[in-house]
Symmetry: C2
Subunit: 197 residues, 2 copies
């Protein structure tokens, strides 16, 4: 397993993803070239094709990583069942916006149209997974009387629309940076009040 000769890289796929993530952050998706990636990693220009059939496939994989990292961020931000409903939503909202601001290009990739249906299904699943802590918070909110009755999934989606809206617009630059905290606050007010019983 170890001591790969210089011929075999060892874990080129991971290295490609990592380097691609760097380039994405620094220069954007449009500037991402498979050949440049290969050069940066000191492998031949065709090596990446063994791991990603396509440029598109690489971008999809990158987006997939994005969903996983965002899921982790959400889980980490979760204040648990003892927090008030507002506290929970505030935590998720903040985590979402922070992620979007830290990785705006990745955000764009994650929420861009996909044509490869396989990749799409995977991502859709990852996206649903990412919502798990939110579901819990909403169920808890219902129990505490802070959230109206009804299908948890639909309620979660409604809340997510708003949060995603702030995050996406912020990451794209449509909200001036110094107004983002206020925007998030306003969005939070809207959601908390709008979901009341």
């Amino acid at each position: 397993m170890r001591g790969h000769s210089s011929y075999h890289h060892g874990d080129l796929r991971a290295a490609l993803l990592e380097q691609a993530g760097r380039t994405l952050r620094e220069k954007g998706a449009a500037a991402l070239s498979l050949r440049e990636l290969a050069r940066d990693l000191g492998v031949s220009h065709a090596a990446p094709s063994r791991h990603f059939k396509d440029r598109r496939a690489l971008l999809d994989a990158l987006a997939m990583v994005g969903f996983e990292r965002m899921g982790a961020a959400m889980a980490k931000a979760d204040p648990g069942p003892d927090a008030s409903f507002r506290e929970s939503m505030a935590a998720f909202g903040l985590a979402s916006v922070q992620f979007a601001m830290a990785e705006p290009e990745l955000m764009g990739l994650m929420y861009s149209r996909k044509y490869d249906t396989d990749a799409f299904d995977e991502m859709h699943e990852a996206w649903m997974r990412l919502a798990a802590p939110v579901y819990a918070a909403i169920a808890e909110g219902q129990r505490a009387g802070d959230v109206h009755e009804g299908d948890i999934e639909r309620i979660a989606f409604a809340a997510f629309f708003t949060v995603h809206g702030v995050s996406n617009l912020a990451s794209v630059g449509m909200i001036p940076e110094d107004e983002i905290p206020q925007a998030l606050e306003d969005a939070l007010d809207l959601v908390v009040k709008g979901l009341k019983p």
Copy 2:
């Protein structure tokens, strides 16, 4: 002005934008090539450069058209000051989602990160312009006692976050098509209730 010889096209810029819009809709932004565009219009491969210095510049111009068309759609959807607040918001929300579903690729272009600051400023302005009818509806809502007091711009933004969230997620395919009407309805409930006094 008329009767341009075959040498001069007449209005190549407009023709390019139109054809590019078609290609965008059919094959996506990634498949948009300046040279192919030129071939389609029967001009030489360098002709487009007289009107768009860059591939990026063409995409930006396309996005700009998108904002204008969306602004027109909003203005057209505006039910006027006699409608209830909910009716107004429903109309704007529906128009937004319909636009997003009819032109998903354009939507992606409009809300993608821009580096050219000139183009960005223009688009930001177009985007603000597009909100004019919404401002009016909110002011009217405040007058009628359906919307809480406060800065109209902030309130409009908050509402827009939710609407944009639905539209964007729908256009990207994250909301199953048959659930979109329901999602929009839920979003509308959230906004109307969340903005109450």
